[in-house]
């Protein structure tokens, strides 16, 4: 048990959540971060879906990594990811139809999410299943974290709601407050991502380039 959560393994899990964040440091998976974050709920569902898919794709690829012929490994990885994406997509359609409608093609497009291919190529092809699982969960959650932060601000200031509940009281609107229409447009997601990157870089000296 102690080996399962050794210092190295904990590091594998924690690094993406901190200074090796796939979205803000490696700048991967930005496209879906722009597309699904105009409300908080789809952002959370998208984040969780990606987490599940990265984690299990990592485990499966890691298990069969020694039998995959090197020349067709990308195809094998894509098949595994595609299968998992289909499963997740069907589950969402069955149990969360509204959200799956909102996410529309973006669930299917998880297959092209750069974070997935990046983790499979860079980590799962070279490490054991347990480490790969931790790595997948860590990267998925850190992706979800950024999506949730961006989705939080976009829904709060763009619609005055959180998860569909009115948060900004009616009295504010009577005083002349208005929802910010720019927040629901994709450019604002990019600017919010940039703000997160700005904050992170000013906190961590080692991320700053000259």
């Amino acid at each position: 048990m102690s080996q399962l959560f050794s210092k190295k393994n904990r590091e594998i899990f924690k690094a993406p959540l901190g200074i090796d964040n796939p979205v803000t440091v490696q700048v991967l998976g930005i496209c879906s971060a722009l597309a699904v974050t105009s409300k908080l709920e789809p952002a959370i569902v998208m984040g969780l879906s990606v987490t599940v898919i990265v984690a299990f794709a990592n485990v499966i690829i890691s298990l069969i990594r020694k039998t995959i012929p090197n020349r067709i490994r990308i195809i094998v990885q894509l098949v595994v990811v595609a299968a998992l994406v289909t499963v997740v997509s069907e589950i969402l359609k069955a149990y969360a139809f509204d959200v799956s409608k909102q996410l529309s093609v973006y669930i299917g497009l998880i297959i092209t999410n750069c974070i997935l291919m990046g983790r499979l190529e860079a980590f799962a092809m070279a490490n054991g299943p347990w480490e790969s699982f931790l790595d997948g969960v860590g990267n998925g959650l850190s992706y979800a974290k950024i999506l949730v932060i961006v989705g939080f601000f976009r829904e709060l200031f763009g619609a005055g709601e959180l998860l569909g509940f009115k948060v900004i009281p009616e009295s504010f609107y009577e005083l002349g407050y208005m929802n910010n229409g720019l927040m629901v447009m994709p450019p604002m997601a990019l600017i919010l991502c940039a703000c997160i990157i700005w904050y992170q870089r000013s906190k961590h000296k080692e991320l700053q380039e000259n």
Binding site: G181, M183, M185
Partner: protein, 392 residues
């Protein structure tokens, strides 16, 4: 002046290293060099020694904006009296009303913008940059009079931080800061920036004017964008003098012309850009007259296109911004011409945007470096060819 100089000299030690007000040294420095030309010049190397630093240039731009601003104030009052009160007031009533309506916007714009600049200058331990002197007066001039102050403050803050400071401050920005402010407002709060209810103030201020509910007055461009082909607003002298509803200072061609003359005489703005913006706009207006779709916008005569909306204001004060426009001499013609074309194309072909000047200038701001690059490259290759030919 002498007394002011003596006073500044007296309080100066407090702001220097070790003084008790050292935290505000950038503030002091900013005001001192604004009022008096600094006496420190560089001593080594090849530098141009001239007292016309960028603070002095900026002051000239502000002076050139004053006719348009004063007329804008008068027009705010005039529009209010004619549409809300129903009869004309005296000159001073109307001007006073407009003055009181516009002044808070100027205060908010300068307060927020300069506040952010001071904080950042202090934080980066740099001198205060003077670029906001012009942006701060431009911002209240290009918004509708009904734009709430908190929106103006938010948009100004956004523009100063995201359009200017993160690019490195004055002189490094890609986009015109005042136009980014307007674009932010335009996309974030479209109901307060366009439509029929924002162009004429409907509140009474300190007993001047009259409060009316649900006042709607469309701008001539607004009428043209919704009208059918035979409903082109007739061209009147009011469109030239500026007694039409619109953003605060954009309406008067005459007041803007005075500003343009000041800018051209002092050599701050490029006549090439101004001229080619008008040529581009006129060209595209004529093209749409001949071949355009069957709408009021397309049937509008070219001189009316140039007189209405923010076309003149944008051409004279926005497109000529030396930081965000093309810098090569040939590039200036291309840059201006494309702004004129794009502005009319957006007006005519996009029914959602009755005014295209803001988006046209912002778009060409992006392309200005590219235009410069190709102008320089073509010059280089032409000279290379000439050199090879003369060698053979």
């Amino acid at each position: 002046m002498k007394a002011l100089r003596n006073y500044l000299d007296k309080i100066k030690p407090h702001f220097q290293e070790g003084g008790k007000l050292h935290a505000f040294h950038s503030l002091f420095d900013g005001f001192e060099t604004f009022i008096f030309v600094p006496d420190t010049t560089s001593t080594s190397g090849a530098h141009i020694h001239d007292s016309a630093d960028s603070k002095r240039l900026m002051s000239f731009v502000v002076i050139s904006l004053i006719p348009a601003l004063l007329f804008g104030m008068y027009n705010v009052g005039y529009q209010h009296y004619i549409h809300a009160v129903g009869e004309l007031g005296t000159f001073w009533e109307m001007f006073g009303y407009g003055f009181l309506a516009v002044l808070p916007k100027i205060v908010v714009s300068y307060g927020v913008g300069l506040g952010i600049e001071f904080i950042i200058a202090q934080w980066k331990k740099e001198e205060i940059q003077e670029g906001f002197l012009v942006s701060g007066i431009l911002i209240p001039m290009i918004v509708p009079v009904d734009c709430p102050l908190w929106m103006l403050a938010l948009a100004t803050g956004f523009a100063v931080i995201f359009a200017k400071e993160i690019f490195g401050g004055t002189g490094m920005n890609i986009f015109n800061v005042a136009l980014v402010t307007r674009a932010f407002l335009f996309f974030a709060y479209p109901t307060k920036m366009s439509g029929d209810s924002v162009w004429v103030s409907s509140e009474s201020i300190f007993g001047l004017g009259k409060t009316v509910d649900g006042l709607t007055v469309a701008t001539p461009l607004g009428i043209a964008s919704t009208g059918t082909a035979d409903q082109v607003p007739a061209f009147t002298m009011d469109m030239v003098t500026g007694l039409i509803p619109g953003s605060i200072a954009e309406t008067s061609v005459i007041a803007i012309l005075i500003g343009a003359v000041i800018l051209l005489i002092t050599g701050i703005a490029s006549w090439k850009i101004m001229f080619s913006v008008f040529v581009g706009g006129a060209f595209m207006g004529i093209v749409f007259n001949q071949f355009g779709p069957d709408t009021a916008m397309a049937h509008m005569p070219w001189y009316e296109h140039l007189a209405l909306g923010g076309f003149c204001f944008g051409a004279v004060f926005m497109a000529t911004d030396p930081v965000t426009s093309a810098r090569t001499e040939t590039g200036k013609y291309i840059f201006g011409f494309l702004i004129g074309i794009m502005a009319i194309v957006i007006r005519v072909l996009n029914p959602g945007y009755p005014e295209g000047m803001m988006l046209a200038i912002l778009l060409m701001n992006i392309f200005a470096p590219l235009i410069d690059y190709y102008v320089v490259q073509s010059n280089i290759s032409a000279r290379v060819k000439r050199a090879i030919n003369s060698n053979n």
